[in-house]
């Protein structure tokens, strides 16, 4: 059985290793500030006890007043999982750092989120639209796109 990790415990570990990092645990989720995403993700991947070696799923949700980028992390080595979320306020100029340097599996998935929800992933090697075409008006999965 894949064991879901407790967000609070993981957040505590992150704060121990990266003092000042904006993280908060809640249920099976760890909330991370966008600016701290890359170091926190690197810690989750490289800390031997966590070893989140696989990014199983990446998506985002439009909540009208804010967006959430959702990362479903998996450790194939330990068979446990963790949900990582980044909250982005507002609707325009949204961006988070790309996690492609850590997990290649983010490549196509970040492009999909960029295409359909309009969240830019800085540092992505090839951030282009993927399912709709270049020049497509707007971002189809946003709630205000009819």
């Amino acid at each position: 059985m894949t064991r879901p990790l407790a967000g609070a415990e993981v957040a505590e570990g992150v704060q121990g290793a990266l003092p000042g990092a904006g993280v908060k645990g809640e249920g099976g989720t760890i909330w991370v500030e966008a600016r701290d995403l890359l170091p926190v993700a690197r810690y989750l991947k490289e800390e031997p006890g966590l070893a989140m070696d696989c990014l199983a799923n990446l998506t985002a949700v439009d909540y009208l007043d804010h967006f959430e980028v959702v990362y479903h992390l998996l450790s194939i080595q330990h068979n446990h999982s963790l949900v990582l979320k980044v909250r982005l306020e507002g609707r325009e100029g949204l961006g988070v750092p790309s996690v492609t340097p850590l997990w290649k599996g983010a490549d196509l998935q970040e492009r999909e989120v960029y295409d359909l929800l309009g969240i830019a992933f800085s540092g992505h090697p090839n951030l282009k639209r993927i399912l709709t075409w270049e020049g497509f008006p707007g971002h189809a999965l946003r709630k205000d796109f009819v």
């Binding site: 799923n57 194939i76 993927i130």
Partner: protein
């Protein structure tokens, strides 16, 4: 004096028999050798994630048929399971067995197609594929018997399945399960040590273990790279813990390994089917409850081992009759992440074999 050369860019697809649907690979060659590959997606994008937001939970089931349309039952299964987890619905035992039976039949059917088309891509034009079609046809007859359809079954429901198996189904399935191993032996005789297949696939398009994990590969692609990872065992769902079966893996992660793993998985699926046939209980096939499902506020990420890998559904509910947000994690799509790395340094004909060995269905890639 050095000869002045230029790279050539070739568009494979979107209309090309080896791309299994409308998919384009923009390939850059130095002479005959691939030095760049850029997959181009979206030709079959129908916006399922968005369509789900304006449909009730039940109304989305027929759309899941059109994701990986060679494994519709598995998609039904994955989606219904996700909604049941979100809404806390218990499925009657007989329905669980029916679902597992359907999912394993589907795996055999999907792998038959995958192997047949892979050999097609290797240049064994349609002869092996027609052998595979012969057995798949029997499975389609069985699916037809339960759902009235051959491709898009729309058979499962939230809380069970739409109706019970017809009386002639189980005997017919028993007959299939008895006969099928001999056919797999026949494929092995024809293919497993076939010199041309070995020459075309051994050592070609290697996906190393570390990269397979890092690129989120799943299913037979991941297992062929030596990772013993199967959600039916590692994160069991439904009644899978009751069955005894193995996870076939291979070592090198080349095209041949991806082919071999699929053949072995068909044998394991037959083992599961045999046990399920012996154990299947009588009883209701659908949970009691309102037909209009309103899951409480919350979210779920639920995944199953579909024939092509981890099929995940991320659903956010706002308590209404339609999902607030639904995201499909299609294994075919994500298995393509490492396509470029697998193809670099090989020739065009190898790229086609590599793409064939990954086993994609565009309905699931573009959604």
């Amino acid at each position: 004096m050095a000869l002045r050369t230029e790279p050539i860019v070739l568009n494979m697809g979107p209309q090309h028999p080896s791309t299994h649907g409308v998919f384009r690979m923009r390939v850059t060659f130095d002479g005959e050798v691939i030095v760049g590959l850029d997959p181009v997606f979206g030709y079959l994008h129908r916006g399922f994630d968005k369509l789900a937001e304006s449909r009730t939970y039940t109304q989305f089931i027929p759309l899941t048929d059109r994701l990986d349309y060679l494994a519709s039952m598995s998609n039904n299964f994955g989606y219904c399971l996700a909604v049941e987890r979100l809404a806390g619905i218990e499925v009657p035992e007989r329905a669980e067995y029916i679902r597992v039976i359907m999912a394993e039949m589907m795996r055999i059917s999907s792998h038959l197609m995958a192997i047949g088309f892979f050999l097609n891509d290797c240049g064994a034009f349609f002869t092996p594929l027609l052998y595979m079609y012969r057995e798949r046809e029997k499975l389609l007859d069985l699916f037809d018997m339960v759902s009235g359809q051959r491709l898009t079954y729309n058979y499962m429901r939230i809380g069970g399945v739409s109706h019970d198996l017809p009386p002639e189904f189980l005997p017919a399935l028993r007959k299939f399960v008895q006969e099928m191993p001999a056919f797999i032996d026949e494929y092995d005789q024809l293919l497993a040590e076939n010199e041309i297949l070995l020459a075309r696939s051994k050592g070609v398009g290697i996906l190393p273990r570390e990269m397979a994990i890092n690129a989120s590969a799943s299913g037979p692609v991941l297992r062929a790279s030596g990772v013993k990872w199967d959600l039916r065992k590692k994160d069991p769902y439904s009644v899978y813990p009751r069955f005894d079966f193995d996870i076939p893996t291979a070592e090198t992660g080349d095209c041949y390994d991806r082919y071999r793993v699929k053949v072995q998985e068909m044998r394991q699926s037959l083992r599961i089917l045999e046990q399920a046939l012996a154990q299947i209980p009588e009883g209701p096939v659908r949970a009691e409850g309102p037909h209009l499902v309103r899951p409480p506020r919350g979210e779920v990420y639920s995944r199953i081992e579909a024939p092509k890998g981890e099929l995940g559904f991320y659903i956010v509910s706002d308590g209404s009759v339609a999902p607030y947000r639904l995201h499909v994690r299609g294994p075919s799509f994500i298995n393509l992440t490492a396509l470029r790395e697998m193809c670099l340094g090989w020739k065009l004909a190898d790229a086609i074999a590599i793409l064939g060995s990954i086993d994609i269905v565009m309905g699931e890639v573009d959604r």
